[in-house]
């Protein structure tokens, strides 16, 4: 099925945009490769939707350049850019049937290039077939469920054969179950047709699961760009780290390759010996080891809560200094150590996600 | 027109009497609508009773009915021989051609403003707020007086201000029932009309400017209350 029209790359060069005093985009430079599935990930207000709208030509920007296949797109109107935009709340035309919604982009073509009625009909049915909703052709938007609206909005955007698909929080307002299904569907769809796709999300799990590459944004700036694996395992700073899943954080002193927290000196794998220094230690819940046996290189803690419901076991611990720690272990490990509430345990480090050096206070 | 001339017109006894009359009757009618408009709005939002939809639709009747028609109908009702006037006469009350008659006409005109500003606010109120109050031990009267009334109070003030503003400038529905006696039952818009008919444009302009200033102050007040309302509903 011909959904695509030639190769396309998009490049942003030093794009700035302000709303009053608020910096929505702050010196954003980014290259999006042809056929890529890219996630823009960040908290609300981080500028990700603005970035998407700038690419679409829906919002103007103050400084910088947006290039489509190397050509400056400044004078290209939205509809000349070959973008298909799927809006957060779908923006289906409420007074039109599903069929007319999808046919809209074809119906508004100039008479010369407009396909015949039959061709339009065939195209719409083909798209309905693609999103598996042929039986909804004559319904109105208000008669559809959220997930159905989402897929119709996608079909409508695809009708104009866009070179790039832009999705604003595509699964944001859907139930958890529908979300999961559509996520998988989008990945499969992309694998089949390879349309360059950029989607905005604030859900790290969604970004990690679906995207080829993730752009983490905060306060209008690009913080990190990389593959999901890269971003998850090698975060460039603590913001990326804490945004991509739960993380525990400790103040410590690094001494002779160990992290000293209170009276315990924890072994830090891979840390070379260096001069004593204050640091912040970021540890993911699955990077701990729990033992009942005392060790000088382990933290003493009391078990506050054990929740074995789920694929991993979640354990809440409290150290002597009163700090809360969230630990995840496998069901296997739980069977081996059999810890219960109020019991004393010793926590050591299997690995560390991120280490941040702190200037010593004089 | 110089400032002296302006002040001369504005402070003439007949002008002052008209302003006083317009203000008092408009204020009284707004007050009456504050009480009864609130009750009508409450009843329409919270209760169901036969004919409710008709009552709801008819709330806008004073806005839809040409004011001249309202004027002659109210006059006929309240003259000493009218359907209502004859009973008031038994009680020794004269309504037509007195300030009371003017107040009645202005009450008719103002009702939709009060009802239609309170109604949506009552409808939008989250029922859970009341349930929360009840669950925390408040009895019904406490819930109404401490939770509901404070939320709708700015809307009530908005509606009352709008009704008052409309009443100050009202002409058609009042002139028939007023009697239009200078110094006694002559409202400001009528005084402007009289000056105009005498080709006294200077006098008419002076009085009109006074009215415009009042209108703008009232409009600004209503907007302020509106802003308070939307803030109370957590929408601002």
């Amino acid at each position: 099925m011909g959904l695509r029209e030639g190769a396309l790359s998009i490049e942003l060069k030093h794009v700035h945009k302000k709303f009053g005093d608020f910096k929505a985009l702050d010196d954003v430079s980014l290259k999006i490769e042809d056929g890529e599935l890219l996630a823009l990930l960040g908290p609300s207000g981080s500028g990700k939707t603005t970035l998407l709208r700038v690419v679409a030509g829906l919002d103007p920007f103050d400084e910088g350049q947006v290039l489509f296949s190397g050509r400056d797109a400044e004078n290209q109107k939205t509809h000349q850019r070959g973008v298909g935009f799927v809006f957060q709340h779908y923006a289906l035309f409420r007074h039109m049937t599903v069929f007319d919604n999808i046919a809209f982009g074809l119906n508004v073509l100039p008479r010369k290039t407009r396909p015949s009625r039959d061709q339009i009909r065939a195209k719409v049915m083909e798209l309905l077939n693609l999103v598996q909703l042929e039986w909804l052709a004559d319904r109105f938007p208000w008669q559809l469920s959220g997930g159905q609206r989402q897929r119709i909005a996608l079909a409508r955007a695809l009708a104009v054969r866009p070179q790039v698909l832009l999705l604003d929080e595509p699964f944001g307002s859907l139930d958890a179950q529908v979300r999961k299904e559509l996520r998988a569907w989008l990945r499969r769809f992309h694998d089949e047709f390879h349309i360059t796709t950029i989607f905005v999300t604030h859900d790290q799990e969604e970004a990690l699961e679906v995207a080829d590459r993730i752009v983490v944004m905060n306060k209008g700036k690009l913080i990190q760009v990389g593959t999901p694996e890269d971003v998850f395992h090698n975060p460039v700073n603590s913001f990326v780290l804490s945004f991509l899943g739960n993380v525990n954080f400790f103040h410590c002193r690094l001494e002779e390759g160990k992290a000293v927290i209170g009276e315990s000196a924890l072994e830090v794998p891979g840390l070379s010996v260096q001069r004593p220094q204050a640091a912040k230690l970021y540890v993911r819940p699955n990077q701990f080891k729990i033992s009942r046996v005392f060790s000088p290189s382990a933290l003493k803690a009391i078990v506050e809560y054990v929740n074995p419901a789920g694929t991993v076991v979640k354990i809440n611990l409290k150290t002597e200094s009163g700090q809360q720690i969230l630990v995840e272990i496998t069901q296997e490990e739980l069977k081996n150590i059999k810890i219960k509430k109020h019991e004393k345990v010793y926590v050591s480090l299997k690995d560390v996600s991120y280490l941040e050096y702190v200037q010593d206070n004089p | 027109m110089g400032f002296k001339e302006f002040m001369g017109v504005i402070t003439a006894p007949r002008t002052l009497a008209a302003y006083k009359l317009s203000f008092t009757t408009a204020f009284l009618s707004a007050l009456i609508n504050a009480v009864f408009g609130l009750i009508v709005a409450w009843v329409l939002v919270r209760y169901s009773f036969p004919g409710k939809r008709i009552v709801d639709a008819l709330v806008d009747f004073p806005l839809a009915l040409p004011t001249a028609v309202a004027g002659i109908a109210l006059t006929e009702l309240y003259t000493p021989t009218g359907w209502v006037g004859q009973y008031l006469g038994v009680l020794g009350i004269k309504a037509a051609f007195t300030p009371l008659g003017i107040t009645i006409a202005l009450t008719f005109i103002g009702l939709p403003f009060v009802v239609r500003t309170i109604q949506p606010v009552l409808e939008d109120m989250d029922p859970q707020i009341e349930e929360a109050a009840a669950s925390l031990g408040a009895n019904r009267w406490q819930t109404v007086s401490k939770i509901i009334l404070p939320v709708i109070f700015p809307a009530l003030l908005t509606g009352v201000t709008l009704a008052f503003a409309r009443a100050i400038g009202e002409y058609g529905s009042v002139i028939f029932i007023a009697g239009n006696m200078p110094m006694k039952t002559e409202i400001v818009p009528l005084l402007i009309m009289t000056k105009l008919e005498q080709y006294d444009y200077t006098g008419a302009t002076a009085i009109a400017i006074g009215m415009l200033v009042i209108s703008f102050v009232l409009l600004a007040t209503a907007n302020f209350f509106q802003w308070l309302t939307s803030r109370n509903l957590g929408k601002a």
């Binding site: 298909g84 923006a91 007074h95 | -």
Partner: protein, 275 residues
């Protein structure tokens, strides 16, 4: 639900008070109009309405509405589109200007036109020199009516357009529709009920306006009288039944307006547009 309910007697007392007040102030005047109009029988009623002056007044009222309503429709749709969908300098001023006719006394509204176009007005000498009559003539009545009914359409549309936001328009643009096509294919259909609503209210006000028209009309029978002015003249001449007969036509119009308004609201609330 007991936590959200008053004692029964309070409820019935409130309903009773509301209905009595409502009956006294709304229903009684309405009945009064028709009762007086038919006081001398249906035949007399119909005869009164066929009086040449009455017919002329009706024609005048219709003419005024036929000019004022379409003009205000165009203006109202354009203004509310601009206000709801775009940001521009002077937007606040435009909003206040739209509300202005609602906040000034109709007498003052009419007076403004006398000051502008009257014999002693700013443009008076020029108009006289060119033999154009506005005040005490039909153009004055139409101008005053346009001014007074100016806000009716825009005020209905602005909140509707605001609540609908821009997304559908933006979607249309990403799909290649021009601004013009977006306006006609997306914006207009989405506000069609609001437009209808505005037209009905605007029409009711245009046909019923009294104060402003009274100032500029000159009360010339058969020439510059609208139906409300005709009612006034008859009533002041103690032709009560004839006055109420003419009034009943306007009252009927008011009732039809309310019925149409309620019907539109019912359509809107039936879920069709809950998007």
């Amino acid at each position: 639900m007991s936590s959200r309910a008053e004692p029964k007697f309070v409820k019935y007392l409130l309903i009773f008070v509301a209905l009595v007040f409502f009956g006294l102030f709304i229903v009684l005047p309405l009945i009064c109009v028709f009762d007086n109009a038919l006081a001398q029988g249906l035949r007399f009623y119909l005869k009164t309405l066929q009086d040449p002056d009455a017919l002329a007044a009706m024609r005048m009222t219709m003419t005024v509405a036929l000019v004022a309503v379409p003009l205000n429709l165009v203006f109202g749709v354009a203004a509310s589109w601009a206000i709801a969908k775009f940001d521009f300098k002077g937007k606040g001023l435009l909003l206040s200007l739209i509300d202005l006719p609602l906040s000034v006394s109709p007498v003052i509204a009419g007076f403004i036109f006398v000051l502008l176009f009257g014999a002693q007005g700013y443009l008076g000498p020029w108009l006289i020199a060119h033999n154009i009559r506005i005040i005490f003539a039909v153009p004055g009545i139409i101008l005053a009516t346009i001014f007074v009914t100016f806000p009716m359409v825009a005020r209905e549309l602005i909140p509707i357009m605001r609540s609908q936001g821009n997304e559908e328009e933006e979607a249309a643009i990403t799909l290649g529709a021009s601004g013009w096509k977006t306006f006609w294919l997306i914006s207009v259909p989405n506000i069609r009920f609001g437009v209808l609503y505005g037209i009905i209210l605007c029409n009711a006000r245009a046909m019923g306006e009294f104060g402003a028209v009274s100032v500029v009309s000159g009360h010339i029978r058969g020439l510059t009288n609208t139906l409300p002015l005709h009612v006034e003249i008859l009533y002041n001449e103690y032709q009560t039944v004839a006055a109420f007969a003419a009034a009943s036509v306007l009252a009927l119009l008011a009732i039809l307006t309310l019925i149409a308004k309620t019907a539109i609201e019912a359509t809107i609330h039936s879920g069709q547009r809950q998007g």
